[in-house]
Amino acid sequence: MINDRRVISVADLSKVYKGGFRALDQVSLEITRGEVFGLLGPNGAGKTTLINIIAGLSKATSGSISVLGMDVVKDYREVRRAIGLVQQEINADYFFSVREIVAIQAGYFGIKNPGPAVERTLKSLNLWDKRDTSGRKLSGGMKRRVMIAKALVHDPDILFLDEPTAGVDVELRDNLWRLIGELKARGKTIILTTHYLEEAEQLADRIGLINQGRIIRVQDKASLLKEFGLAHVSLELDQAMGKLPPAAKELHGKLEGNTLTVNHLVDVDGVPTLQDLMAQLTEQNIRIKNVTFAKTSLNDIYRELINGEHRS
């Protein structure tokens, strides 16, 4: 049953570039139908290499990948029909209009009469008004949107978005986030890479942490965030506490003298909120003298993981 839901299986994938740089090291990963999977890692971690190999832009040194049960090398034609890739680097064909660019891409996928598919795709991305604009005259954000149109025109089941919001303004970022939600609602499986924890937190159902070519953790978002928190809140108390209050325990709290540090979470079901914690402190007549708030960075998570403080 679980196997039926598996759309991508990566097994023992390694990639060693000429000169010996190991971009991927024995990566194994499974992506489930209909999920948004966030591949989270710092620059140079191997995110792009991984999705480029799945999409056919790069060759693996060893290991295997199957997409919808088909091998990415042997059955590449069927696999590529199932995949849309939006690359990180913005590209645009300067010679053609938006409509032509997307129609040509549809042609590469063997779509005989691309008109309707192009129109549907451009409209869904609010690009229809720009259909006759030349690729040369598009703004960076528009180019990004045209790239998404190219990736979607053949209606793939699986969409890869490589750092979709890198270098885009807030408005476009919000648009993209909304679009990803809509695509998920239409049943697409989406794999996005990002180095923003916030983005993965907003969009992903599951998060894979990748560092130096290795997947170091794959976990559903809620439990990952519960473990690490979006931010750490330090409460300076007016007296030392003997033991952690119950809410603090669940928030991975730590006591050091008068300071209580907990993970701060937003909207994670079944997890106590800061308000619950404060209520428990008030019950014990403990007053808060000062509060400091530090957003959890990806680096914090890596540091904690590498220090082995968290084991699950």
Partner: protein
């Protein structure tokens, strides 16, 4: 074979070509027109005849062939180079197209383009020379084979090159000199024996003379041999490009 995909690529490249007509159609026609004017005024005027045709007629096939070879090679190599620079080559690589389909898509556009240019040059030449085609089928088939071969050569260069400078080396430093030395303007019969032998090592000699045979039935080389040279040229280059694509040379990291 997915002809829809091949045609999408061919059409794209043709359209790019139509969008800059001055560069792609105007330039070769003007250049050839100048050759005709200069050579027929200075040398031609019906006085000089080579192998039974007037001098102006004699140089016409070679000029067409040079333009076809240069055009076929340059258009594909710069198309590929542009798509590398604009980053659009990956759009092709993530598609389900096979390498053969990609090679055909690029080459077909270039062959079609070369045929159009050849027709335009011939049309221009008709102001100077009478209409005369002795072996039309040989001429057409041969022109297509050579255009195809040079398109494939353009693909090889486009993949190999990292800069436009590298792309421009071949037409300027290889095709033009080898065409001039390949008997566009003279019959190698007028050369000393040693230079005749050396000339016979130049594959472009066969291509130029092959086309001249197609037009007038005259040639410095055996037309069958010319046909074989053109075909072998196409075959060898096709094997090279097939190898480059299938190993992902400079295309896939």
């Amino acid at each position: 074979m997915n002809w829809t995909a091949i045609w999408a690529l061919t059409w794209k490249e043709l359209k790019r070509f139509i969008k800059v007509p001055g560069q792609t159609l105007g330039a070769p026609v003007v250049t050839t027109f100048l050759y005709f004017v200069v050579f027929s005024l200075s040398l031609g005027r019906g006085m000089i005849e080579i192998q039974g045709v007037s001098y102006t007629e004699f140089i016409m096939p070679g000029l067409i062939m040079m333009s076809v070879m240069t055009g076929a090679l340059s258009s594909v190599s710069s198309a590929l180079m542009l798509s590398k620079i604009m980053g659009t080559l990956s759009d092709l690589l993530v598609s389900p197209m096979t390498y053969l389909e990609m090679i055909l898509g690029f080459s077909l556009s270039s062959v079609i383009r070369s045929m159009v240019t050849a027709a335009l040059i011939y049309g221009t030449a008709l102001f100077f020379v009478p209409f005369k085609v002795e072996h039309p089928i040989y001429l057409l088939v041969y022109l297509v084979i050579v255009a195809f071969a040079f398109s494939v050569a353009g693909l090889i260069i486009g993949i190999w090159a990292d800069t436009f400078e590298q792309v421009s080396i071949f037409p300027t430093f290889l095709i033009t000199p080898l065409s001039f030395l390949g008997g566009i303007f003279y019959s190698i019969e007028v050369l000393p024996a040693v230079l005749q032998t050396v000339s016979r090592l130049n594959p472009l000699l066969y291509m130029i003379n092959g086309l001249r045979y197609g037009f007038y039935g005259v040639s410095d080389v055996d037309p069958t041999l010319a046909f074989i040279v053109g075909s072998v040229f196409l075959l060898v280059l096709s094997l090279v490009i097939w190898r480059l694509f299938s190993t992902g040379y400079k295309i896939k990291t």
